[in-house]
Amino acid sequence: MNSPLITRFIFLFVFLSLINAQDKNGYFSLENRLKFGNFLFCKGDYIRAIDEYNFVLTKQNNDTLKFKIALAYQKLERYDESENSFKELFTSQQFGSEAKFEYFKTLYLSDKFETMHKRIADDSFIESSISDKLKRLYNLKHLYSSKSIEDSSKFFQPFNQNESIELLKFYVRKQNLDNKSPALAAVLSAIIPGLGKVYTENYGDGITAFLLTGVLTFLAIDNFNADHNFRGWLFTTLAAYFYAGNIYGSAASAVLFNANVRMNFDSDLTLFLNKNNHFSSNSNLFCK
């Protein structure tokens, strides 16, 4: 009775299933996986982009994809893998010089400044197109160094006027970092307990040290006056112990303060340089 209707249903299901199967083949075609990889790369999903690119590379050789994989590793801060991937592209006609520059940039980003310096000196095949960019990177590393920059004119030479103006703020800040002297902090705490801590801007610790040493000293004097010599000496020992501890702690506090100042500077500089892509952009090469 209903057989024509059921037959139509069956045909409909079979037909739809075939369409679906056809679509799935299309979804996972080499071209679509490449497109998807490019999409992921530009969206910053580098791990999945690498997976897609690696799949495409199993079917065809493609230097662009190898370069993008190396860039992706660099973005993921997997610097060892990035270095090796860029090294493989040194002989590439299309990406040889860029790969070399990005290789040095990877060394710079992974704080291997000495290796970077040595490799640049050893490499006699650095093209003029990337030597300026390398000079920039090389000079930028001086901002991270704890030593002061001696010749400012040489430092700013590879940068254009706008870049120099922006970097000048960090240059001036580095020259005038608000460091505290550990020796001065210790001397101040030796004169008045807690004053060294106040100098290093730990006001609560300074007041506490002053009160603690003061109370213990008062107790020692009070007990000596009352002829309680044992308790007098006990509180004298404790007062002397915390007094000495505070002198040491003030010096340590100054060292810690300086480390925090240095870290804040490095952090601000890294944020700024990342924002400006270290004045040597390549990431927008593939993404609009």
Partner: protein, 149 residues
């Protein structure tokens, strides 16, 4: 002859199975609001040198007589007693004792807060020993950076 309804069901049934997979994603998730306390007191004698043997013995006595009953009240990680033992181990008995006196003073500071210390996974103020070893700034910065990572 095969019943045609059976054929229809065969086609429909796999679709329902796939549908079931999707709905599994939206199941309710059991959440445990209890704070995890990964830190446990270790009654181990530190035998790095003679000073640490003495200090860690005192620490074990302190743990057994006071800390076990008083509870986990030190606001810092590592705790003051653990800080003392580690400070003596990393430096020497004199410097370690001075570091402990300074730590004890900081512990008594009522105004200490989140602006001064980072927060450890235990929920306590993170105050490691190396911060107070008077290390060169470069080394201390590297240690603090690795701590952040």
């Amino acid at each position: 002859m095969i019943n045609k309804n059976v054929i229809v069901i065969i086609f429909l049934f796999p679709l329902l199975l796939f549908g079931q997979v999707e709905t599994n994603k939206w199941q309710t998730h059991k959440i445990d609001y209890q704070l995890s306390v990964p830190q446990k007191k270790e009654y181990i004698l530190n035998t790095a040198n003679l000073s640490t043997v003495v200090i860690s013995s005192a620490q074990i006595v302190y743990y057994s007589l006071f800390s076990e009953y008083d509870g986990d009240n030190c606001p810092f990680h590592p705790s003051c007693s653990a800080f003392f033992v580690e400070a003596v181990e990393r430096t020497n008995i004199l410097q370690g004792s001075l570091m402990f006196a300074d730590r004890f003073t900081r512990d008594m500071n009522f105004f200490k807060g989140y602006h001064s210390y980072s927060i450890h996974s235990t929920g306590k103020f993170f105050d490691p020993v190396y911060n107070y070893e008077l290390l060169p700034t470069k080394n201390l910065v590297e240690l603090k950076k690795s701590e952040n990572e």
